[in-house]
Structure formats: structure tokens, C-alpha cells
Amino acid sequence: MEPKIGVYICHCGSNIAGTVDVEQVTEFAKGLNGVAIASNYKYMCSDPGQLMIKEDIERLGLNRVVVASCSPQMHELTFRRVCEDAGLNRYLFQMANIREHCSWITEDPRKATEKAKALVSAAVRRVFYQEPLEIKEVPVNSNTLIVGGGIAGIQAALEIADSAHKVYLVEREPSIGGHMIQLDKTFPTLDCSACILTPKMAVAGSHPYIELMSYSEVEEVSGYVGNFKVKIRKKARYIDEEKCTGCGACRELCPISVSNEFDLGMGKRKAIYIPFAQAVPNKAVIDSQNCTHLQKLKEGKDVCRLCQKGIEKKGVLGCEAGAIDFGQVDKFVEVEVGNVIVATGYDTFDPSLIYQYGYGRLDNVITGLEFERMINASGPTEGKVLLKDGSELKSVGIIHCVGSRDMKYHEYCSRVCCMYSMKFGQLVREHVPGVEVYEFYIDIRSFGKGFEEFYNRMLQEGTIFIRGRPGEVTNVAETPEEKGKLIVQCEDTLIGRQRRIPVDMVILSTALEPRSDAEQVARVFSLSRSPDGFFLERHPKLDPVATMTDGVFVVGCCQGPKDIPDTVAQASAAAARALAIISKGKMEIEAATAMIDEEVCSGCKTCNSLCPYSAISFDEEKKVSQINEALCKGCGVCAAACPSGAITSKHFTTQQIMAEIEGILI
């Protein structure tokens, strides 16, 4: 069919027309080969602009369209849709960027106009050779995989499951709950963290549409949006989850005590244990590293097993449910899902790296998370704030920004520390009457709802705020009053003086940082990471939960430090995005994919390893490479690399690209 091309030049108000002579460009376009009509308009993206194109397609029978306006990033979708509405295949449309690439960066109007002509000419020549492509759709699997059972993962799981779609919630620890279940109170309302979280945990644990896989980790993900295949390792718990009633009798029998990671090593737990009272699932787990039986079993010896056998002499029974199974091994499960939500959370910064703060070296220097456990009624000290020697404290120093806002560690602000530090001040004053609380801060960042009000309350209620990042925490006393104390040395920048503040306890408000295995997780889910190490969202402003991989979303602190309400909002947003894909039921896949001419392919496999989307496989029977169109993103790497020229990138054929270059060079 003879090409009949319509060319439309946009003024973009004065953005383009202020520099480019649009009338001249229009006249120029009229003279180009195959152009049936060329016009210009103030805003091509507006309704009248769109209508103009549609009417021309219908009235003049245009079979190609070029719009010279802004970046295709902005409006390619708009104009493709306009063409489709008028019955023209979207791949018969071409856009010339005469704004970002021309009017905005070229001062001389004469030069800008010449450049715009060249760009229009290139687009016209290119569109001449463009061909309609078939737009394919693939069905979407309605299951969703959620990785991480903290508040982010739980919230997203509940949102999706409540709409009657299946969720696989995978958590690597023995219980869901994440960091939030370790916290005592939440700022600024001072709600009990566990009280607001445990109802959600309980629902997640028993929801008919949630399959909770605790003590499990995702090993591999393959496939694409709508059709992911996921391999999950269910770590051996040595407990039959079906049988275990969570009675806890096994714990009493176990002779091995080790430090309790849930209480950050401040308390003890047994080698067979339930992580905490409200654990979901409320099932025991055996820590194989510390269980005498499992360790000796490697040497072929059968010892202990008290949890299983009980103590006969004393008439104490072992596990009555018969749930203990020392023969368990890691199991692999494969599931199919349409969407993946990554909610893997954060690690806290290790403050022993900042030697001068004395963590791990001086007694009574603790981290914020340790304080959360200490002040919690179910924590190792049952909520009593005690010094190492068991005595009560009279004063406490809280150091903000430990590892945050520090070029040597993390440049970013961790967003939650100001508020949780002030919360600590409030809690310690509630628990220990008459205590002196010093907050050492750089700036108070109380940006959230009710935050500034909380800060003002703390100011009024007697917390002492000292502006300055402390240089050191030391036990080297210089005066008799300092003897036996921890001295926080800092420059009080409000009075311009060095000060030494003797306190009994120092709490380090440590930064939130990416998980230590973030790189590996990023690889499994094809995620990118920002320079700070957190997972990268598709767009920082307008697409904050999607990622560059369609169908994979990131929520909560794995994307960057944030507080609980922001995390919950993000989780709900990701759930909505996943549900949108599920409810549509099918996905369009990119039609501009690569294509292999099997007649020409020599079977060298060069392309197989180069494909960044693992879309190319090798057909052993035919001895040729094959492209999975659903996986192919049309990046063109294979086409460029193919030594025998067997691969064509649809919509980016050699003919089209050469024509575009010729157009530029007129």
C-alpha cells in the first residue's frame, strides 16, 4: 500500500514555537516524500489536537502518522492510542522529539528550525518503512507471591487475599512480624506495636487465601509478568507443622540455652523454641546449629532427644503430639504466580563500626532496637530499664543519626530515628521517674502527621535537646562527677561550646540500611538498586512501588527507610497495582520483539548468553536459537550481536534505522 503520511507539528505553547518556526517546518514537511498532509497546532496532545489526527486519518485515509512534539516518554502512548482509535496500528506511528532534543537546548531560532526539519525528515523516512505489528496478549495467573512477612508483606497479603485471590507469603524467619513486632510503642501516638500488629498477623496466619510459608526462602524466579515460576526452599524446621500445637512443653525439656536473637541477644532461648509469645505460626522450630542431637547425629551418634522422649524417671513426657521429626530436610516447592511483591525490609546499622561511640566496648551503650526490647514488658528485663549491673539509671543520652547523614557510612537520612529517639525519651521518663533525658541531634526532622506536635510536647515535658553530633562517648572521667559515668562529648552548636554530659546509659539511634543480602535478592527478582543500596522504584515520584521488571513491586523499607504508615500505604498501593493486573486477566506484551530467521541461524548460541531477559533458548532438535516473545523486551542486543544476521528487531529493522539516518542527513 502506498504510504500516506500525516505530519503534525506541535507548538507546545511557546515551548517549541518560541524557538522553532513551526510554519516553516510544516511547509517543509509538506514537500517530503509520501506526506499527504502536514499541519501544526498549539497543543497536539490536547483533545482538539488528537481529534485533528483522528479526523485526518478517517477523511484522507492516512496510513502513517508522525507527530513532532515532546519526548516519546511523555506522549508516545497518547498518540499511539489516537491512531488505534482511528483504526491504525500503533506501530505505524512515529514521534519526532523537537522539544527536549531541539527547542529547549538550541538558542538560535534559525538553527533550531533547521534541526526540527531534520528530525521531522528522519521520522517521515522511518515511518515510511514501518509495518503493523500484531499485539499479543497473555493470560495472567491470579496468584501473588509476597516476599517478607513484616508489616509491609502482611498488609499487602491481606489486601490481595481479602479480594479472594491467592497469596503465597514467604518469610525466612520462623514467624512473621518483622521488625515491627520487636518494637515496644509506635510514634507519635504511642500505640503498643504488638497490639496493633498481632491481629493482622493472626488473620494472615489463618486466611483462607493466604498460604503462609514461614522459615522459607525464595531461591529462583523465572518467567514474566502474569506468569512467574517461583522455586521456594522450605527450610527444615524439624517439627511437623501439622502436628505441633505450640504448647511449648518441648522448650522446658531442652537443656541447651542460647542467646535469643528476637531480644537481640539480651535474653536466652532454648535450642527448640517458639520465637515469641504471639508467633505466627505458633509452631516450634529447632535451631540445628545448637541442638545437641542434630549436631551429634552428623557423627552418627544418637544423644539427648529429651524434647521428643521426655524424662522417664521423672515421669515427664516428651512432645505429646509427636511433632518432632529429626529426619526433616529442606524441601523445595514450586509455585506459579502472576505478580511478585518484594517486602524484605531492612537491617539496622552496626554501630561498633563507629569506634568512638563505644558500642560493644563500653557497658550501657546500647542500640535503639535493644532499648525497644528492654523497655518492652515481654522483653528480657520485663520492661525495666536497667544498667548492666542491675541498678536503675538516673540519666540517659540518646544519640541521633548514628550511621545516617554521615558521609562515611550512609549519606541518607533514615527518616524514623528522630521520632523514635524522642519516643525513647518519653518512654524512659514514664518508666523511670526523675530521669534526665538528653537528645543529641543534628536537626529534628518531624515531618509526619502529628510529629511536630510530639516534638513540641517533648520540649515542654523536660527532655533536654542538645544540637550537635557527639564526637565521642567515653568512660575516661575528667572530674569527680564524671567518675563511673559515660561521658558524651559534643559541640553544642546552639551555644558554640564544647560540652561533656555525664550519663548512665547511651542509646544509639542507628540507621536503617539495606539487608546484607540485598544484592542477591536483587538478582533473584531482577531488581535494580539505587546508590544507597535500597531497591530502585520505577519512578521516584510517579511510580514509587513498581520496578523496571513488570509485575515485580517493592514496598516498605527494602525500597528506602520509612515509617509504619508510609510502609502500610505503599503495601496497599502495590496490592492495588497487582490486583489491577489480576482483574484485567491478561497482559499485552511488547510486539517490538526480536525475531530469528531459522533458515539463517547457524546455531552458534552467541545470543543465548547475551540476552539480559533470558528470553533466548536453544532448540536442540532444530539446532537453532529461539526467542520467547513474552520475555523479549526488544532491546536489540541479540540482533546486533548475531554474526550471521539471522535476528531482526521488529520495529527496529536495518531498513528503518538506515532510513532514519538518511532523513537526518538531508
Binding site: I354, Y355, Q356, T474, N475, V476, E478
Partner: protein
């Protein structure tokens, strides 16, 4: 044999001649050839830059230009020379205008500096090039049982030219341990001794010195080592003044790392300048000499 261009600095030639002596003695024992930079001049030290930054950079740059001709790394045993020469080098790389002016001054003496010299401290060379393991293998009399406080001073690691942690340096600690001695925990190991303020603000400096001595003793130190000749002078020579001012009884020998190393290598006390210390180390070191 390893070769380095050697910048002794004024102190190692005069007030801290024990530093110069012991550095050469220990270098020989470790197969290090320190080739003294021909016609070197004073690095300018810290005070000069307080008066005229450009002139101060010029005189340090002259040393750098001379060192560049040798093609060797420039090693100094003095903290002050180390930081001054390094500072000049980094300023010349960072500020093109300064580089131009300094370049003119050098050209008048038929010299030029292209920025190709690595300025290094003796402690860093011992730690990174020679390594504590090799040093341990040269020990003839292990300093087993000797408790040593490692004192770094402020200029060795601050503002930091990248060789040790500015807040919590460890290199001297491991050198002490390579000799068989024990490095005691010393919280104030990178704290200021008062430096040149001992001249202008004596009371303040004496208080700083007192704190250092006090903290080292509290941790059980029998002697202290410091690579900095100014710190060594303050802590050693002014110990008596501290004692009379604060009614204390400090008697802590303050040695250079090279002196202690020389003892462990079994070198003659004379070659290490052990007789030049104000607080005599003879008693503490008696069983190792």
C-alpha cells in the same frame, strides 16, 4: 632490599635525634635502604601555613619536586612532616591557581613538580610494605610481658590520608604485638597532646599531657610509644613539669616505635638513642636489653 627516598625532617636531626638514629638502625635490620633526599629543606611544619599558605606550600613543594626526581616513595618518620608534605601535595592537585603560583616559584629554582610523589609515614611503610608478620620474624628478644600504650598523636591519621582509621587507628597496636609485647587498650590513643601549645599555652597543654599519661597508666601501660617527635617531647620532657603541677608521680618512658623495635631486634641501645630519653626506659626494658 627495598628503597625509599628518606625525609628525616628537622626533629630527627636535632631535638629528637633518637628518632633519626633508631629509624636508620631498624631500617637496616629490615633490609630497607633509606636514601636521604639530597638538599632537603624544612617542610614548613604547621605554623608556616598559618602565616602564608602560598609560601608554606612552596617550600614543601620544593621537597616534593626533589623527591620526584628520585622516582621513589618519600618516607618520613615524623608525623608533622608527613602531614605537611601530604597536604601540599593534595592542595597542588586540588587548587589549580595555587599550583600555578607554586609552579612559578619552583621554576625560579629550575624545579617542577608534576604530582607524582607518594608521601608516606615510616609507620605506614612498616605496617603495609614490611608487614607485622615479617617484623615478627626478625624479633630476636621477644618483648613478652611488656605492656605498651600505643599513642598515635593527631597528625598520623587525621585528617586522614587513608592508611589507618582516623578515630580508631590500629597499626601501632599490631606493630607492638608483632614484637611480642602487649598493646594495652588506650582510649585516648589518638587524642591531642597539646602540640606546640606547650610553648604558648603551657597550662592547657600540661593538662592534656596529664590526661594521656593518666589514661595510659590506668590501663596498665609500662611504657608508651609514639612516632611523633613533638608528642614524644611533650610527654617525655614535660612529664616532670606535669608531676610538679599536679602533684603526680608519673615515670612513664615514652619511646619511638623504632626504638622499641630495635630492642626486640637485639640492636645496641646506643644505636637506638635510648640514652637520650628524659624518662629513662632502662628499668622497664632491663630484662629485654
Amino acid at each position: 632490599m627495598r628503597y625509599y627516598a628518606y625525609f628525616p625532617g628537622c626533629s630527627a636531626e636535632a631535638t629528637a635525634s633518637a628518632l633519626g638514629l633508631s629509624t636508620q638502625a631498624v631500617a637496616k635490620a629490615l633490609d630497607i635502604e633509606l636514601i636521604e633526599l639530597e638538599d632537603w629543606n624544612c617542610c614548613g611544619s604547621t605554623p608556616y601555613s598559618g602565616i602564608d599558605e602560598v609560601e608554606a606550600t612552596c617550600i614543601a613543594a620544593r621537597d616534593l619536586a626533589l623527591a620526584e626526581k628520585t622516582g621513589l616513595d618519600l618516607v618520613s618518620p615524623c608525623n608533622n612532616c608527613y602531614i605537611t608534605l601530604n597536604k601540599a601535595d593534595s592542595f597542588l592537585k586540588e587548587y589549580p591557581q595555587l599550583k600555578e603560583r607554586v609552579g612559578e616559584a619552583l621554576a625560579a629554582a629550575n624545579l617542577k613538580y608534576e604530582g607524582g610523589v607518594r608521601v608516606r609515614h615510616l609507620v605506614e611503610v612498616l605496617f603495609n610494605d614490611i608487614t607485622p608478620g615479617v617484623i615478627a620474624s626478625r624479633v630476636k628478644r621477644s618483648l613478652d610481658g611488656l605492656k605498651v600504650a600505643p599513642y598515635y598523636g593527631c597528625q598520623l591519621t587525621r585528617p586522614g590520608f587513608g592508611f589507618d582509621d582516623p578515630e580508631f587507628p590500629k597499626s601501632l597496636d599490631s606493630l607492638i604485638e608483632s614484637l611480642g609485647a602487649e598493646a594495652v587498650p588506650f582510649a585516648l590513643k589518638a587524642r591531642c597532646c597539646g602540640g606546640a601549645f606547650i610553648i604558648s599555652e603551657e597550662d592547657m597543654a600540661l593538662e592534656l599531657i596529664r590526661k594521656l599519661l593518666d589514661n595510659a597508666l590506668e590501663n596498665g601501660a609500662q611504657c608508651m610509644i609514639t612516632p611523633c617527635p613533638l608528642c614524644q617531647t611533650n610527654l617525655d620532657v614535660y612529664q616532670g613539669k606535669v608531676n610538679s603541677k599536679f602533684k603526680t608521680k608519673f615515670n612513664l618512658p615514652i619511646l619511638f616505635p623504632s626504638q622499641l623495635m630495635g630492642v626486640a631486634f637485639g640492636l645496641a641501645p646506643r644505636s637506638l638513642g635510648l640514652g637520650k630519653n628524659a624518662v629513662s626506659p632502662n628499668k622497664v626494658l632491663a630484662s629485654y636489653l
